[in-house]
């Protein structure tokens, strides 16, 4: 056994360079004399295998749409460009839970797919222009499922408030914490549901046009629905102002036929409201 004073920082840098590039020249000085540097590949393979497996689990609809080689090719580009910046793969590829400083230095997988869209050669007919929309829906589903969802207001609670003569317009209702409002550029919601939950591809090409999908958690399960134009306006306002009455008023101003009572009942029935602390 040789006694050595190697610099730990140099070692980590050499290994990091190998993990990022596959070049192991700088590491050979840290290996015992007769070691086969090909064996180092085990570590790099382990890294890619784990990251690919996490992206497959997190963006499951894409794995049903693309064949394995296609998915792996795109995912490997992403791993090379944006390796995990948190020491867990639970939400790898997703925007959620990242510190603002870290978020600025990375890109979530849906945004990366959006960039691929922008740079895809025009004649590349194999490229699917709505991959990032599907990834956004997978991301929202995951994020909603793993949110803490406390203090939901029930219909019975509201009935009690009314019996006690409380003015509901001054009660500080807000949307439950699990709510996620997703804007997509293609009408892929039904397509996404078929892929994600049944593994079925659709033959129809989705229409282009902005759509809003609302995700929330109810009784431990994720709910999702495609919103009408006025509903999406209401939810955007509600999220922006954190005020139910302002959002209702804004929606009523936009559409004379907007039924405030019906929407309020929908919110309660779907367990979408909570009381501000």
């Amino acid at each position: 056994m040789r006694c050595t004073l190697i610099d730990q920082e140099d070692y980590i840098q050499a290994f990091t360079h190998f993990m990022r590039s596959g070049e192991c020249g700088a590491l050979s000085g840290f290996l015992a004399d007769d070691e086969n540097t090909d064996f180092l590949k085990i570590y790099r393979n382990g890294f890619y295998k784990a990251c690919l497996s996490a992206l497959k689990a997190n963006f499951i609809s894409l794995t049903y749409l693309l064949d394995e080689t296609e998915f792996n090719q795109i995912a490997t580009q992403y791993i090379n460009r944006y390796p995990p910046v948190q020491a867990t793969l639970v939400a790898y590829g997703m925007a959620q839970g990242l510190d603002p400083d870290i978020r600025n230095n990375t890109l979530c997988f849906p945004s990366f797919l959006g960039q691929l869209n922008d740079t895809a050669p025009e004649r590349d007919t194999s490229f699917v222009p709505f991959l990032n929309d599907l990834a956004l829906l997978d991301q929202a589903w995951f994020s909603t499922l793993n949110k803490l969802n406390l203090n939901q207001v029930s219909l019975a609670q509201v009935q009690l408030m009314l019996e006690q003569g409380q003015d509901l317009s001054v009660i500080p209702f807000k949307l439950v914490d699990s709510v996620s409002l997703v804007s997509i550029e293609f009408d892929v919601f039904t397509h996404w549901q078929a892929l994600r939950f049944r593994g079925e591809k659709s033959d129809k090409t989705p229409e282009q046009g902005i759509r809003y999908i609302l995700f929330w958690q109810c009784n431990g399960e994720v709910q999702a629905k495609s919103l009408s134009s006025i509903e999406s306006h209401f939810y955007q306002e509600f999220i922006k102002t954190s005020s139910l009455s302002d959002a209702l008023e804004s929606a009523a101003q936009r559409d004379d036929e907007f039924d405030v009572s019906a929407l309020f009942a929908d919110l309660l029935n779907a367990s979408l409201l909570m009381l501000e602390d």
């Binding site: 070692y11 980590i12 993990m19 064996f39 948190q86 958690q217 431990g220």
Partner: protein, 313 residues
């Protein structure tokens, strides 16, 4: 809640055999202890079965994952096994990571918390694998710093696991001595992964007997066993720590040897790939329990025979 748990756990035999719990087995693990399954969940199982989870898989705010973990925690002893702390090279990712570990440890109060004597993060990137450390004084100092940081964050000592070695790096000391020095400097314990030790011996010619001889029995707080794979490119030379197959005969033999040497310890069956049915895992786990039972019985008989000899003298 905590008191009743502690009371319950004191009655348990913590030298039992456990399984690393996968989400697909949550329901079966929970229903195993229900009254409908009392024929399967006998008193012996009740006293010995425990579960381990990868700590980082529970870095979520809420949802079913944490709810299930709480149910498991209400029924069985639970252990947390970390894979992402990069103890050998604490980085910018470490602080937020440890905050999340500490929250989970505080909430679930696992009976063991463990990590690896490896590194996995640098330059704001997480390499999602257990990367080797050169066994030098510098590396040891870094590792100890990482262990102390971790232990300070969660307010209790941890166990550190020996890595699988695929090739030899420059080294000032043997791995057993390296780990024991970390134990002495930080107050941590050792999670001895028998499969890793077996593979290290096969892959790099590590001397198993010398390795075990360097370890202090009282420092070993947990033992892991798992299955391995033969490398496709170097089938004669490399065995991979895949956790994707049943435990090999050679590893079972080494487990028995280790338990005989160090005495009964909590033994965990790891399976992360090609995960079979819960029943299949339980029967493999029962094999580990039988090994523990044999060793316990042997040690008791040895202890009695020692007493007799003293008496006769």
């Amino acid at each position: 809640m905590q008191d009743s748990h502690l009371l319950k756990e004191k009655k348990r035999d913590f030298s039992g055999a456990g399984i690393n719990l996968k989400p697909q087995h949550y329901d079966e693990a929970i229903t195993l202890s229900s009254t409908n399954n009392m024929d399967r969940f006998d008193d012996r199982l009740n006293k010995t079965l425990w579960f381990e989870v990868h700590t980082e898989n529970y870095f979520v705010e809420g949802g079913p994952r944490l709810a299930y973990l709480q149910k498991i925690r209400d029924l069985y002893p639970l252990s947390f096994h970390g894979v992402g702390a990069s103890l050998g090279n604490p980085s910018l990712l470490t602080k937020p990571h440890l905050k999340q570990v500490a929250q989970l440890v505080s909430r679930f109060d696992p009976f063991l918390v463990s990590e690896h004597a490896t590194w996995s993060s640098s330059q704001n990137a997480y390499f999602a694998d257990l990367l080797p450390l050169p066994r030098t004084q510098n590396a040891l100092a870094n590792l100890c710093q990482g262990i102390v940081q971790y232990q300070d964050a969660i307010g209790r000592p941890i166990l550190i696991e020996n890595p699988t070695n695929y090739l030899n790096f420059v080294a000032d000391m043997d791995e057993g001595d390296f780990l024991m020095e970390a134990v002495k400097r930080t107050g941590c314990g050792i999670l001895l992964d028998v499969n890793n030790l077996y593979l290290s011996a096969q892959n790099t010619g590590m001397d198993v007997q010398a390795y075990l001889g360097a370890l202090d029995a009282s420092a070993v707080g947990e033992i892991h066993i798992a299955g391995f794979a033969i490398d496709e490119n170097f089938p004669e030379r490399l065995l991979i720590d895949s956790h994707g197959s049943p435990v090999a005969q050679g590893v079972w033999q080494l487990l028995e040897e280790v338990l005989t040497l160090f005495g009964p310890k909590p033994v965990l069956l790891e399976r992360d790939d090609n995960v079979p049915s819960f029943n299949e895992l339980m029967s493999e786990r029962n094999q580990a329990q039988a090994c523990l039972d044999r060793v316990s019985a042997f040690m008791q008989s040895e202890s009695k025979s020692d007493t007799n000899e003293v008496y006769l003298d």
